[in-house]
Symmetry: C2
Amino acid sequence: MSQPVDSGREQLARAARRHSTATVLYHHAVAERLGLGPSDHKCLDLLLQHGELTGSRLARMTGLTTGAVTGVVARLEAAGFLHRRPDPADGRRQLLRPVPERVEEVAAVFAEDGPDLDRLTAGMTREQVDAVLTFLSRATDELAACASRLRARALLVGAARASSRAPTHPERAEEDA
Amino acid sequence: MSQPVDSGREQLARAARRHSTATVLYHHAVAERLGLGPSDHKCLDLLLQHGELTGSRLARMTGLTTGAVTGVVARLEAAGFLHRRPDPADGRRQLLRPVPERVEEVAAVFAEDGPDLDRLTAGMTREQVDAVLTFLSRATDELAACASRLRARALLVGAARASSRAPTHPERAEEDA
DNA sequence: TCGATATCGCTTAGGAGATGAGCGAGTATA
DNA sequence: TATACTCGCTCATCTCCTAAGCGATATCGA
């Protein structure tokens, strides 16, 4: 292996890649455990992190069409994970928020069959944990930005193919995640 | 907020959760960019990390049925991402391996629209980067183990429902990922 | 103030992809 | 050698996503 710096970077790239794959597989397994599809779980996750969202916002964040989101919301509501109410400020909108009791069940799955954070940081100093925290936070922002870039580019290609005529499709990806 | 320790743990949990969601969304966006479905991308990822796998192993690792894997392999092969050859040691098996040239295209997508690792670790000492590396590595193992546990449990439930008669379904999840 | 345009969530038709079951071929075990 | 298992594949079926378009509401411009 070349210099320690390059070796370290490659090591990190590999580790991040493997971690990424493991995360995706785990996320899918959790969804199945909850009796949800991957998209449903994704949306529920976003809902838990944001507290309250509209359907269109959810569509923009996930890259799903509004039609797909309608299905997701219907399933999540039927399963009792989600409560919806009309937006008092905008008659077109629905405000979606997770249902606390059901959310606790989700949290229970994570507690029972999720990674043990204490074990992950065992033997680390506060400074080292902070470094991990910084890395995760930066990576989250980067990933969200990259995903939005990728989706925006895909839309441009799609728009070029269909030329003008904007469909129901999300007009532009959202950097927020 | 309570004690700094608890606060730190919760902070880490939240960061990990957000990072996880962002990862899943990014993974999906990359798949679309490559013209692949999420499962296809997942399998390709595993193939890239392991070099060569059999179909049944892929099914066990992803939790997909063998029927689904047949479709995944057919699509990946048609798209030129994958080469397959019969296992000389076992006439039933097919050995699947990624095609180098196409893999470079995938790598190009990551390079162009992937997170910049240097920026993520900017300002960190070697020791801090090592901490991140340790965390990622441990988390990867934990996630793989948890996913396999979840899937194994789901299979038990399924087996209890269908009682005996094992289907084509993956008999047990694999810890390896 | 009022018409034009956008956005919201929903619906529908159609298709892609996953499941679940079962098959023949090949391998391991008794 | 006979039996049980594993491999990858096929088929019918189902679920979920896309693409397109609709009515209702909101916003902007003249």
